[in-house]
């Protein structure tokens, strides 16, 4: 009895309060988004707000369940839960139901459950469990491989379900790795790969090569700070390009331009290496290695994209990167969403007075685009309040994570921060045109049982761990 009372006293009521506020605001906006005169009762369970109410109460029950489970089980069963989750993700690929092109739902009677929402919890637990094992050295090849596997497996299965948005969430766990000391160069490499990946699809090959060369030269300049060497390097490259261009021109070979540049790069690299060796200039080898690595990577991305991926897969990536306009599809949604939010003005049109977020102008307005309703009906005051509330929640969770004695709890805490942060950035960002349209819900706000339950469990496991923070658990 004594111990039980302890738990309730140690709960972080600030977080609970923010959580309750967010869920309540979410429900009010869902009500506004689907409100119509024929169905006004808030207990109309044929309407989304009625259903959401049921899910909110069910979420409260889940909180009680989470709190009755002894915290040792979360550590002990972390891998087991993860394993079961992977199995369920596989099962949904085979037995799942397809909704809006994504095969990521289980249908039991009238209820649809989306396992991918819950997979984040399992992954956060498994990652924390792995990183907190006492013999794990985060910056070793072995850990990179294992961490990669823990994150890649669920992401890949979700990608197979055709739910790109939910799969991208797994990038967010980089935040946990960052906090736990993943080497800076691994991060730089990761960022470089992402940039190259996007550039390889966005730019022409020749432009990409030119940019890579220029970047390499600039980096060389920054590292050495010797103008003479830098000027030499530029001249060598210009001369070798001119030479190959001249040969092509006078012999009338009509070689493609980018072959000429490639030849020029190859020749200048040989000269660079020779000079660097002779004059003992630093950084040259590694730079050339990087240059060639980048070009090869970009070319393989290009090859995979055009030769291996199917047309619809190419299309999905293109729309994500904004390369393919889709007037009544994604681009249209963003316009509608911006009009809705913008038309809210400073103080909004008032509760249930929104015109743009009703009548299906904004698609998915109660799920992915719920932020539009806030913007339209509550204006800047509303969006400022909600955004601030989310920032406060995230900062509070960082604070909670940091005060944990057990490293498992801290890492799990950062997992929660990472997942919530990613969802918030992407979801709000896409409604105001700052982020590509990736269909993932706004935590605690968006309509949908699976996401509400999953975020609730995710958060309250942390609060449960936190309530016990004074009892040291290895």
């Amino acid at each position: 009895m004594q111990r039980r009372a302890n738990i309730w006293n140690n709960i972080d009521w600030t977080t609970v309060f923010i959580y309750l506020l967010l869920v309540l605001l979410g429900w009010i906006n869902i009500y506004a988004a689907v409100y119509n005169e024929d169905h006004q009762s808030i207990f109309d369970f044929s309407q989304r707000y009625g259903k959401q109410m049921i899910w909110i109460f069910a979420a409260f029950l889940l909180i009680l369940v989470v709190f009755t489970i002894d915290i040792r089980y979360y550590t002990f069963f972390a891998y087991f839960i993860y394993g079961v989750m992977i199995f369920i993700l596989l099962a949904v690929l085979i037995f799942g139901k397809e909704v809006h092109g994504a095969k990521s739902w289980f249908e039991i009677g009238n209820i649809r459950i989306q396992p991918s929402e819950f997979a984040k919890i399992a992954t956060a637990l498994a990652l924390a469990r792995y990183l907190s094992s006492f013999n794990v050295q985060i910056n070793s090849f072995k850990s990179y491989l294992r961490i990669g596997l823990i994150l890649f497996l669920p992401a890949f299965l979700i990608l197979l379900q055709n739910d790109t948005g939910s799969a991208l969430v797994y990038f967010a766990f980089a935040l946990v790795l960052f906090r736990e000391g993943l080497s800076g160069s691994v991060f730089l490499l990761g960022i470089l790969i992402v940039i190259l990946f996007i550039l390889a699809l966005v730019l022409e090959k020749i432009t990409l090569i030119a940019i890579a060369v220029i970047v390499a030269l600039i980096v060389f300049w920054i590292l050495t700070r010797k103008f003479k060497q830098f000027a030499m390097a530029v001249l060598i490259f210009v001369f070798s390009s001119a030479m190959f261009w001249g040969i092509d021109y006078f012999l009338g070979l009509k070689i493609l331009k980018y072959y000429i540049i490639l030849l020029a790069i190859a020749l200048s690299s040989i000269i660079y290496v020779y000079l660097a060796f002779k004059h003992k200039i630093k950084h040259v080898f590694i730079l050339i290695l990087f240059l060639f690595g980048s070009i090869m990577f970009a070319f393989s991305v290009d090859y995979v994209f055009h030769q291996i991926l199917e047309h619809h897969q190419q299309k999905r990536i293109n729309t994500l990167l904004g390369l393919e306009s889709d007037p009544l599809g994604i681009g249209y949604n963003v316009n509608q969403s911006k009009i809705a939010i913008g038309s809210g003005g400073f103080s909004g049109k008032g509760f249930l007075r929104g015109t743009q977020t009703k009548f299906d102008f904004v698609p998915e307005q109660s799920t992915d685009f719920i932020f539009c309703t806030i913007g339209e009906e509550w204006g800047f005051m509303g969006t400022f309040f909600v955004t601030s509330l989310f920032i406060a929640l995230l900062l509070r969770l960082v604070y909670i994570a940091e005060r944990q004695k057990s490293s498992f709890s801290r890492m799990y805490g950062y997992g929660v921060v990472a997942v919530l942060f990613f969802h918030i950035i992407i979801n709000i960002g896409m409604t105001i045109g700052l982020m590509p349209v990736i269909g993932i819900p706004l935590p605690f706000f968006s309509y949908g049982g699976s996401s509400l339950w999953a975020f609730t469990i995710l958060l309250f496991i942390l609060l449960r761990l936190d309530a016990n923070r004074l009892e040291t658990v290895k």
């Binding site: 007037p327 911006k338 969006t383 920032i391």
Partner: protein
């Protein structure tokens, strides 16, 4: 122990920084930027979808095949409905009050806010009358649409048709809304993304009385509709028309391909139907009638029917035999009217003996190919019959058999070339013998090939060893390219030298002297060297199917063709003269021996076979 604790501050800064950026952006969007503001009186936006004209379809010579005709749908938006004079409404649109109630109810069920179709495809006269009084009926408006029209009654299977999207499509593809049209088969389906163009949208400001007050934000957020791209088909409509005429009162198919490109010149599936039947209000009824027709006119036999290839497959065995070095052009086998192996006997017809390779194709000797096939499978270079068979199968598959060719035709069948595992199961041992599957020697047994695959094999022979994937579209107008797979040469595993003796045999089969035993002399054309091979597909349900494959001219071939006539018996009887007419029509645009045309046109195999089966009963 926790030496990276300092990084927590970086994370905090990151959270606050991104939060600030978002808040600033929201401030600009909601407070600073005035372009999103609406006034109190003009506070509703109306979105009107702009439907682009669907792309036209032409044949390879620029003849227009499919175009558009305007039609008007009366739409209803349940949210904007108000009381109105139903009597006047009913008399203008020629509908009943029950119709109104029923359709408004179902529109409300679909969506309260999205418009639904209330009345489909009214005439332009009705449209004009309704337009004048439309203001009296709030909630109703007219949506112009385009209906497909066809210049010719032909090529229905090639072109396909257009119809309304169903719920499943709306659910899975956000582009389509209720009442939108989509290509359902043929070119209309496989090139839907190009033909449909892109819908646009105009945004209008609307006052509280639902009257348009002007364009929202000077059209800044409007999206212009993009007209659908025109598509140029590979078919030659005159050849297609001629093919369909020849196939009247017969069931079967014709596929003609230009070997040097893989372009399909004609693709006939008989009986066919008039594409006009699947347009407009009568569509559902017509579709139903066609669907229950016992001769299956909706079924595209050219790609969806599979038959055993019969004797045409001897060519395949001749090629594989040479490649596997168990056969050369001078190899002779004698035939005494049948092939014997122990107590096994497989019949042949009477002919001169012995024969060499070209003669064996000319005369289509079964015995010769039983010998060839067994020498392929019992080849000592392979550890077992199974392995030799697998190698044989790989050669066959390299011609595009056993799997769909991946053309741009819809619903292409894979066909069937059994795997060695299949026979392991059938004979319950891995030690089956070449004699067990001897029927493959003459193209019978478990083989299944589609008329398209056979035409492709013929084109491959004409090319002496490679093919382009057959395709039905030559060009998409605008900045679009055909898929790269249609420009790629697919080489078979057979070297080009091995094709010459086979082609010699095919030449003799058509052009051999009278009395020489040539099987396809009915395909002869003056001054053109046609190379062909007859076949007969065994049909357990009735008379055998007549098959003929051919290409012409022998050098620099322009056309490769496969002709199937169901229940037509021996290939030389019906299929060969029909192919002959098609080839001459394509190459010369005239027929030198018109009696062949009469012979084909006057034959009614459908009634004949129907009578025969009645008689049997």
């Amino acid at each position: 122990m926790d030496s990276f604790a300092g990084r927590k501050n970086i994370i905090r800064v990151l959270i606050v920084l991104i939060g600030l950026i978002y808040i600033i952006r929201l401030f600009i969007l909601q407070v600073v930027d005035s372009s999103y503001k609406l006034t109190a009186s003009n506070n509703v936006l109306r979105y009107e979808t702009q439907y682009p004209a669907r792309g036209l379809i032409f044949d390879r010579n620029g003849n227009l095949l499919v175009f558009n005709q305007a039609a008007y749908d009366i739409m209803v938006n349940p949210m904007q409905l108000d009381a109105f004079d139903t009597t006047e409404f009913c008399s203008i649109l020629e509908i009943t009050k029950e119709y109104i109630d029923e359709n408004i109810k179902s529109a409300k069920e679909y969506s309260l806010y999205k418009p639904s179709i209330f009345l489909k495809q009214v005439s332009s006269v009705t449209y004009a009358r309704f337009q004048e009084v439309m203001f009296k009926f709030p909630g109703f408006f007219v949506q112009p649409r385009t209906l497909r029209k066809y210049t010719y009654e032909n090529a229905a299977h090639v072109i396909g048709y257009v119809g309304e999207v169903n719920d499943k499509i709306i659910e899975s593809n956000t582009y389509y809304n209720q009442g939108d049209y989509i290509g359902i088969s043929g070119i209309e389906q496989s090139y839907e993304d190009y033909l449909r163009g892109k819908k646009g949208v105009n945004i209008y400001l609307v006052d509280v009385h639902n009257r348009i007050k002007g364009s929202y934000n000077n059209g800044k957020f409007d999206v212009k509709a993009e007209v659908g791209a025109n598509v140029i088909s590979t078919i030659d409509i005159n050849l297609q028309k001629y093919g369909e005429k020849l196939m009247q009162n017969k069931s079967g198919s014709i596929v003609a391909i230009e070997p040097s490109t893989g372009e399909i010149l004609a693709l006939v599936s008989a009986p066919g139907y008039n594409p006009e039947l699947l347009v407009g209000r009568a569509r559902a009824k017509n579709y139903n009638d066609l669907n229950i027709d016992s001769l299956k006119p909706l079924f595209n036999r050219a790609v969806m029917a599979q038959y055993p290839p019969g004797s045409t497959f001897k060519i395949m065995n001749a090629l594989v035999g040479q490649k596997e070095k168990v056969l050369n052009p001078y190899t002779t086998y004698s035939c005494s009217g049948a092939y014997f192996a122990g107590r096994f006997r497989l019949g042949c017809h009477s002919h001169s003996s012995p024969l060499n390779l070209p003669q064996s194709i000319q005369i289509s000797c079964n015995t010769y190919y039983c010998n060839v096939f067994r020498s392929i499978l019992d080849n000592r270079n392979y550890p077992s019959v199974r392995d030799a068979y697998e190698s044989w199968r790989n050669h066959v598959v390299s011609f595009g058999f056993g799997k769909a060719l991946n053309s741009d035709l819809i619903n292409e069948l894979n066909g069937l070339i059994p795997t060695k595992e299949y026979y392991d199961k059938v004979y319950r041992t891995e030690n089956w013998k070449s004699l067990n599957i001897i029927s493959l020697a003459i193209g019978q047994g478990e083989l299944g090939t589609t008329p398209l695959q056979m035409a492709n094999m013929t084109a491959t022979i004409a090319n002496r060893g490679y093919y382009y994937i057959p395709h039905i579209v030559k060009e998409i107008e605008g900045d679009f390219n055909l898929d790269a797979r249609f420009y790629k040469r697919n080489y078979t595993s057979i070297d080009s030298v091995y094709f010459e003796p086979v082609i010699k045999g095919m030449e003799l089969a058509v052009n051999g002297e009278a009395g020489s035993g040539s099987t396809a002399r009915t395909a002869q054309i003056q001054n053109i060297i046609v190379c062909g091979k007859t076949g007969t597909a065994q049909n357990p349900h009735g008379e055998d199917h007549s098959i003929f494959i051919a290409f012409a001219p022998k050098d620099n071939p322009q056309i490769a063709i496969s002709v199937y006539i169901e229940n037509g018996g021996f290939g030389g009887t019906w299929a060969a003269p029909l192919a002959r007419l098609m080839i001459e029509k394509y190459l010369n645009d005239s027929i030198s021996q018109p009696y062949w045309e009469e012979y084909i046109l006057n034959s009614d195999l459908i009634t004949k076979n129907a009578k025969k089966s009645q008689h049997l009963e």
